[in-house]
């Protein structure tokens, strides 16, 4: 699993949470780094933050889709609503602040369907 978020603490906490659940997690703090990791490793799922410096989450998702159209992508955002074209590239969209339980449940469902 690949997590990309420019919030250092948030990224760290998310990694701990996911590893507790039994996932193996790779992290990147910006879009470019994330894409490079995506190319190098076999990624089964991506958890992307939307607002990041350089490339935003939507752009990163679009780039990933090009290399691997099938990989499940979950977009996380602090924003309440995002434009259509961004959501087109991702499989699921969650707002931060719904809580850990909701996040983990959504992720499980996502992995099950893909």
């Amino acid at each position: 699993m690949l997590c990309v978020d420019d919030e250092a603490i948030g990224l760290q906490v998310r990694k701990i949470l996911l590893e507790r659940e039994g996932y193996r997690v790779l992290t990147a703090s910006n879009g470019a780094e994330g894409l490079s990791l995506f190319q190098q490793h076999q990624i089964h799922a991506v958890v992307l933050d939307y607002s990041m410096p350089g490339m935003d989450g939507g752009q990163v998702a679009a780039a990933m889709r090009q290399s691997n159209p099938k990989v499940p992508i979950l977009l996380l955002s602090a924003y309440v609503s995002l434009p259509e074209e961004v959501l087109a590239h991702v499989d699921r969209y969650l707002t931060k602040g719904d809580g850990a339980v909701s996040f983990l449940e959504n992720l499980r469902l996502l992995l099950k369907t893909c």
Binding site: D6, E7, I9, G10, Q12, V13, R14, I16, L17, R20, S51, M52, P53, G54, D56, A78, Y79, V80, T95, K96, G97, G99, A100, V101, F103
Partner: protein, 590 residues
């Protein structure tokens, strides 16, 4: 007809008849003089005749006396003779004078006198003879005497006849003269009468015509005036603003419908009253009476506006905010003859302006929603995750770590939240604040937005700079300016914030610059106007207008410097703030 021409006309009307009458008098005078002369001549003739007859009679007396003496030899008979002599001589002298003009008569007279003198010679001889008892009765001598006497009588008769004829001629002349006077008088009088009559008639006609013309002109002017007055009255009544007209003493002469409504009086009640009695204005906050606009106009002798925050108190106890101006009314000589006051009720528009300000404040908050979202949601999301982990029986060490991370994130939230709220807290009075601190806090809030836009920021704030002001409002201004700069710079653009103290500790200069496309000159004039925006539907157009209002309130200034050329483009917004605000008004945008 102008007054001078009229004057001339009147003078003519008076002087011409007088002149003509003087002429008549002159003519009559001449005629009368002539009559006198003619009469004198006549009298002269009369005198001559009487002299001649008198002289002749005396000469005959002399002869009689002589005869008596001859007969009686009594000398007493010579008394008449002697007595007559001087009278005769005198007569001859007078006659000589009078006959001076008549040559023929003069000669005749001289001859007659000679004849007489010769007779006197004869008479003397006779007397001598009688005395000597000589031959006095001699026939020849008597015959001589008689002959001489006959000659004298003859001569005198001629003279008298001539004089009589002359006298007749002269009498005729006098009668002629008199007749001439009468004729002349009648003719001249009639002529003059006609002349004067004609002249007067013509002059009077002209006077009358000019009078009629003047009356007509006055009438037409009065009608024009009435029409013009009516037109102005209607115009004034139709104006949507309130209009009050006062005379030179500040007494109301006219109030239009709107003014009557706003002041709560009608024209009849207000007419003639001093303005202050119907127009009761005070300051909105201090409730102090505001200077009467009529007094102000009279004092300054020019168009004036009322002070801000003026409220009109109405008789029914309600009050309305007003905005107004007063102007002097002058006559042809530039003297002040009245004042016209125009005002309107701005209570509604003020409420609207205040609502706008309030909503703009909220909009500013809205613009920072990216920040709120991030700076609050992200940390809280981590805290939520950490609490979940804490609920899963972590080891003591892990638990410690989780708690520490959570605390850190919560501090972040509090920090952000506090900064956000301080945007709304407004101290009653200005306080001394550090602009560097303030600008930094705004930059923190905008950090997320800048990252999202890929905008690079440069700080040039070497020292702290302190000024007096309202921190929340100044934050609003710089948030607005920085947001504009970020949006102008665009993706991968750059902005800079520079802070310097003015020379001599006189305040601060803040410059927010971006390297965006720049503002063209024709637009730069309008950017501070309300409801002007280049952001289409997104912009409210109020940001810079409100920012300028706030800066003005702080007695500072704000200006835009911009270039739009391809090689060099960008905008710098320069804000100048004094160290101490000179007078802080209680309201911003105006």
């Amino acid at each position: 007809m102008n007054p001078r021409a009229f004057d001339r006309l009147l003078k003519q009307a008076v002087f011409l008849p007088v002149l003509l009458l003087l002429l008549l008098a002159a003519v009559l005078l001449t005629e009368v003089r002539a009559t006198f002369d003619a009469t004198k001549f006549e009298q002269q003739s009369d005198r001559n005749i009487s002299d001649l007859e008198g002289a002749l009679k005396l000469i005959i007396d002399q002869e009689t006396g002589l005869r008596g003496y001859q007969i009686t030899e009594d000398p007493s008979f010579l008394d008449p003779y002697n007595r007559a002599k001087p009278a005769i001589t005198a007569a001859f002298e007078r006659l000589k004078n009078d006959f001076a003009e008549q040559q023929s008569q003069e000669e005749e007279l001289a001859a007659a006198r000679r004849a007489y003198l010769e007779w006197t010679q004869y008479a003397e001889n006779e007397q001598a003879l009688v005395q000597r008892q000589g031959q006095y009765r001699a026939l020849s001598l008597n015959a001589e005497g008689k002959q001489r006497m006959d000659d004298i009588r003859e001569r005198f008769a001629q003279l008298i006849q001539h004089a009589a004829r002359l006298r007749d001629e002269r009498s005729a002349a006098v009668r002629d003269q008199v007749r001439r006077i009468v004729e002349t008088t009648i003719v001249l009088t009639v002529l003059l009468g006609i002349l004067i009559g004609m002249l007067s008639r013509r002059l009077l006609h002209r006077v009358s015509d000019s009078y009629v013309a003047t009356l007509k002109a006055a009438e037409s002017r009065s009608e024009e005036l009435y029409n013009s007055q009516q037109s102005y009255y209607t115009t004034l009544q139709s104006i949507g603003d309130a209009v009050i007209v006062c005379d030179g003493d500040g007494r109301v002469t006219f109030m239009n419908r709107v003014a009557q409504d706003l002041c709560g009086v009608n024209q009849v009640e207000a007419d003639g009253k001093a303005l202050a009695q119907v127009f009761n204005i005070v300051n909105e906050t201090t409730r102090a009476v505001v200077e009467n606009p009529v007094d102000k106009v009279r004092r300054l002798n020019r168009v004036v506006g009322l002070a801000n925050h003026t409220v009109l108190l109405r008789p029914d106890g309600t009050e309305i905010n007003i905005d107004d101006s007063g102007a002097p009314i002058r006559d042809q000589h530039g003297e002040l003859t009245g004042v016209v006051l125009v005002f309107r009720d701005i209570t509604q528009s003020r409420k609207t302006a205040q609502a706008l300000l309030a909503s703009e404040k909220l909009a500013v908050a809205g613009r920072l929603s990216a920040t709120i979202a991030h700076e609050i949601h992200n940390p809280l999301d981590s805290v939520a995750n950490l609490l979940y982990l804490l609920g899963n029986h972590p080891s003591a060490e892990d638990a410690q770590r989780y708690i520490s991370l959570a605390t850190q994130e919560l501090r972040r939230v509090t920090e952000t939240s506090r900064t956000m709220l301080s945007l709304y807290r407004e101290p009653k009075a200005p306080i001394l604040l550090d602009l560097k601190d303030l600008l930094e806090s705004v930059l923190v809030l905008l950090d997320r937005k800048m990252q999202d836009s890929g905008v690079h920021v440069t700080r040039d704030m070497p020292d702290e700079v302190r000024v007096e002001g309202f921190p929340a409002e100044l934050r609003q201004v710089f948030t607005n300016l920085l947001t504009n700069a970020i949006e102008a710079a665009g993706r991968d653009g750059s902005i800079s914030v520079a802070l310097r103290a003015q020379d001599g500790d006189a305040g601060a200069i803040v410059e927010v610059s971006d390297n965006g496309p720049g503002i063209p000159d024709e637009v730069r004039m309008k950017i501070f106007a309300p409801f002007f925006t280049t952001k289409g539907e997104q912009g409210t157009g109020l940001g810079l207008w409100i920012s300028r209002g706030i800066i003005n309130k702080h007695s500072g200034s704000i200006e835009a410097i911009s270039r739009t050329e391809a090689e060099k483009h960008g905008t710098t917004m320069r804000v100048t703030l004094p160290a101490k605000a000179a007078s802080l008004l209680t309201e911003t945008a105006r």
